[in-house]
Each structure stands twice: as structure tokens, then as C-alpha cells.
């Protein structure tokens, strides 16, 4: 038996979530005393040896010409490797790709599927695991009732640690799947944005900013902190910012190290999507804004005065550090 981890790549590069999944897989395999096998799909431009620094026992490189939207093809390739490696635990990242392939893979392998996982199994046979539920308002302890389990790791929930393994093996084989039943026609990149799922810092703003023309200072602050930008639901509903930026219960759930909320009152639906952030800062004119009950640091003040000063102070800080 083994733990199999999908070392997901996008355009040939590994993502932060991949390293989280690798660390998670290594720790799970160690705890359950199983072999840890990583699998890469397609043409990898990054150095594959990067993976070996996470302590895996074996890397299987599948030479496979696939498209990112072909969930059936990706799933069949992974199922093939999982059967070959006799894997009873399969770890994936709960990324857009992970969400598209995980449930499908569970049917292909007749396995249980648990998503939004935040910690390694506390127990084997049956696998007992902690996951997020109720859109971040609670955690659920789930137990699987089948021999195989697929675990999808919630982004930014597991600390990345390197573990060397000098005896890491590597093998390569070719795979081809049936013709894809979904065809990618075009990809449109959103300009210069840091993906919210991967962002370590997120700067978010709400209706308190009064209009889309005032987002310049939010973007400037985000640039300084190398942060992603987000917004509240009303702002996305009003069309001030794109839907992809809406964080909250019915938008994206995020878990950055630092979340700065500007002019967002902190309704329960908003907090549900962001309260997994490690540190939250609220800036609001209203001293009774519910966000001040959830935040770690708060400033009661007008965003139009506070943000320019904060930008200045961060510039000073960066100049001195």
C-alpha cells in the first residue's frame, strides 16, 4: 500500500498548493508507515527534483499530452498510477483542477472522497480526518468507509516543510487517454493579478470605498505587499469589481496569512469566507462594525485617510528592511 500525491502543475510549473500537498502526503505516509509516491503529469518545465526535497520515496513522471480542462483524461491517468502503485490514500490539492478531477477519480477508483481537508488523518482504518464545513463556520471530523480514500487539501491550511530523501527513485512512462470530451478553445488571463487562492496577503475592500474609481489606493497597497485584491459581495454585485474577486460564503473562501479588510462591515456571510486567514486587519469608520469582533488588529477611521498613510508607512518600512 502507498500514499499517492498528485504534484499538480500549471503550464509546466508546480504551484504552492502542490508543495502543501507534498508535505501533507509525506507526513501522512510517515504517520501510517506507508510508502509515499508523487506523480507528475505532462511536460514539466520546473525541475522535477524539486519534488524529491519533500521526502517522497518515488516520483512517477507520466508523459501524457493533456489539456487542463480534460478532467476525465487527468482522472484516468491518475487512476492508472494509483492502481499500479497500489495506493489506498490519494492526496490532491483542492485547487480548481483538484475540484474538477477528485470526485471523478473517486468513482474511477471506487474510493471515498473528502475535500477541504485541513490536517493529516488522526487515525487509519477507518481514515479519520478534519475538514472545513459550513463555509468556514465549522469543522467536520469525517470518517471514510471504504478501502481507498481521496483527500483534497484546502489551500493555505498545511505548513510547507522540506524533508530530504536521498533514496528517491524516479520513473517515467507514457500514457494516452480516450479523446477528450471537453475542448479548451481559449484562455483569457486576468491582467497582472496574483491568484487569490495562492496569495499570502490579500487586500480587500467593500462598499465603504464609495465607487470603483477609488480602487487605485487598494491596488497600490496590494502591489506594495505583493498581495491579491478581493472585494465584498455588494461590490461585485454592483459591478465595481469582477466576480472572481468576491470573497465570502457565496464567493471564494480564502486563507491567506494576512487579510486586510477596508470598508467592509464584516457580515457573517463575508467572515465565513475569510475567517481562516491567519491575521485579519479591519479598517472601518463604524466602531460597531462586526469585523472588529473578528479581526486581530483594527483601525477606526476613514479609508481615504488611513490607506494613503498606511501605504506611506509600508514604503518606509520596506526602505528600512
Amino acid at each position: 500500500m502507498s500514499v499517492l500525491v498528485f504534484a499538480e502543475s500549471w503550464n509546466g510549473s508546480f504551484k504552492k498548493g502542490t508543495f502543501e500537498a507534498l508535505t501533507f502526503a509525506h507526513d501522512t505516509a510517515k504517520k501510517l508507515n506507508l510508502e509515499c509516491v508523487a506523480v507528475t503529469l505532462g511536460n514539466i518545465k520546473d525541475d522535477v527534483n524539486k519534488i524529491s526535497s519533500f521526502g517522497v520515496d518515488k516520483i512517477v513522471c507520466v508523459s501524457f499530452d493533456y489539456n487542463n480542462c480534460d478532467n476525465k483524461g487527468i482522472s484516468s491517468a491518475l487512476a492508472h498510477v494509483a492502481k499500479k502503485e497500489n495506493s489506498n490514500i490519494i492526496i490532491i490539492s483542492n485547487s480548481n483542477t483538484g475540484k474538477s478531477i477528485g470526485p471523478r477519480l473517486s468513482i474511477d477508483l471506487d474510493a471515498a472522497f473528502i475535500s477541504n481537508v485541513v490536517d493529516i488523518p488522526s487515525k487509519n482504518t477507518p481514515i479519520t480526518i478534519k475538514k472545513k464545513a459550513f463555509s468556514g463556520k465549522a469543522f467536520e471530523i469525517a470518517q471514510t468507509e471504504s478501502f481507498k480514500s481521496i483527500l483534497a487539501i484546502s489551500p493555505n491550511s498545511y505548513t510547507i516543510t522540506e524533508n530530504s530523501n536521498p533514496n528517491c527513485q524516479q520513473e517515467t512512462f507514457n500514457f494516452s487517454s480516450e479523446t477528450a470530451n471537453v475542448i479548451s478553445e481559449k484562455i483569457e488571463k486576468s491582467t497582472g493579478n496574483i491568484s487569490l487562492a495562492d496569495a499570502e496577503v490579500v487586500v480587500s475592500a467593500g462598499r465603504g470605498l464609495k465607487g470603483p474609481e477609488n480602487w487605485g489606493m487598494i491596488e497600490e497597497l496590494a502591489d506594495l505587499l505583493n498581495a491579491g485584491t478581493a472585494c465584498s459581495k455588494p461590490v461585485s454585485d454592483l459591478g465595481w469589481r469582477p466576480h472572481g474577486e468576491h470573497v465570502g460564503q457565496t464567493g471564494k473562501a480564502i486563507a491567506p496569512n494576512l487579510y486586510i479588510a477596508v470598508g467592509i462591515s464584516g457580515a457573517i456571510q463575508h467572515l465565513a469566507g475569510v475567517n481562516s486567514s491567519k491575521i485579519m486587519v479591519a479598517i472601518n469608520t463604524d466602531p460597531d462594525a462586526p469585523f472588529f469582533k473578528a479581526a486581530d488588529y483594527g483601525i477606526i477611521g476613514d479609508a481615504f485617510e488611513v490607506i494613503p498613510k498606511l501605504i506611506e508607512e509600508i514604503k518606509n518600512f520596506k526602505a528600512n528592511n
Partner: protein, 248 residues
Amino acid sequence: MKILVCISNVPDTTSKIEFNDDSSEFKTEGIQFIINPYDEFGLTKAIRLRDKHGGKVTVVHVGTSASDPTLRKTLAIGADEVIRIDSKPKDSYSVAKELAKVISEQEFDLIITGRESIDYNNGAVPGMLAAILDLPFVNACTGFSLNEDSATMEREIEGGKEFIKASLPLIIAGQKGLVEESDLIIPNMRGIMSARTKPLITVKTNGTPEKSESIKFEKPVTKQECKMIDAGKEKELVTLLHNEAKVI
């Protein structure tokens, strides 16, 4: 065009989540249940497609009679009929299996689900359904338009969006973008009256064994009190974020 919309019955987004004394079950007393918001975008899209291209919108749900008020609402909004699979949902796998049984007995051109439900957030049913029925599947779908015998879809990807083509029948897991928030339909009196006479069919089931089970729930740890910094002293915040929180 025959469209199937899979609906979850979930606690209203403003609900405070509480559990019973041994934390094994979600407490439903006093909770208002609603159509899962992601599913409502899909339902609205289905109604628009039917109004444009003709056909029928069928809603399907796995649940007990406690879900009937929510299901009546889907009829008031504009669905033509509801099929309720009479079973207490256990896990994503058993729900997907139950849905697949009903779907394979009829022919649908398009199956729409929400990206995930806002209660258990597994996001697993649509992908499982696609695998069981061997249909093309697009997750996190933010746009859908119909061509002759195929469809063009938009989906969210890391750092942008992707346009995807697939032939019908197919499954999409939708979210906002499929329609806008302002497109959602608030039932009017005529809709509510007609919902009373539209069919709400109950289907018995022998059940499907589940593959996973919730055994316990926990509430997140409550944070320490918020440290307030006076406006004008932004430098102090930067120092705290660096020295104390160690996040910059």
C-alpha cells in the same frame, strides 16, 4: 430542450451554525432553509434557456419532506416539475448514486448543479455524477451558451478564465456569472399560485451505502480581542504586523 437542475436545501447564509450536545449533528431548530445559492444561479439559467429555446426544467433533490417548502419555491421561480428522491442524504457518493438512477431513467440534454453546497462544501456530487453517467463535465462554470448541438462554456481558472466547448448532453457545476445576482427571480403571486398545481413527484429509494460519514463537528477557536490602533498611527500597525504577527 430538457434541463435537469439538482438542488440542495441549505441553511440561510445568515444562519449561526450550532450543533447538538455531543456535537454529532447540525442543529436545524430555528434555521431558515433556502435553495443553495450556487444552485439558484443554475436554476435561473435553466429557466432562461427554456424560455429562449423551449423545453422543460425539471428540479431534482435528494431529501425528506422537510425540503418541500424549498422545492415549492423552485416551482414558484419557474421550474416545471420537481422530483424529490425520498431519502435523508448521507454523503456525496450516495447522493450522486441516487441522482444517477433517476437521470438514467430519463433523457436530459443538460444537467446543472451548483459548484458546491454552502453547508458541507464538498463540491463532489457534480463530478461524481459526470463519472457515473460518463458525461462531459465543466466545473466552476461562469458562462454557458448554446450552439446547434454543442455548448460553449466559461470556467474560472487560476489567474483567468477558460472557454470550453463540449457536446450535449453534459453536466455543468455553476456559480455566479452563469447569471448575475440581479437576474435571480423573486417569485410573484402568479408564480406562487401556479407552484401549488405543478407536479412535485416523490420517488422512493432503497438507499445507497455511503462511503464517508460525519462523526463530529467543531467550532473554530474564538480569536483574541481585536487590538485597536488609533487612526493616524498607521506606523504602529506596520510594526505590529512585522514584529508581533510576523506576516510582513
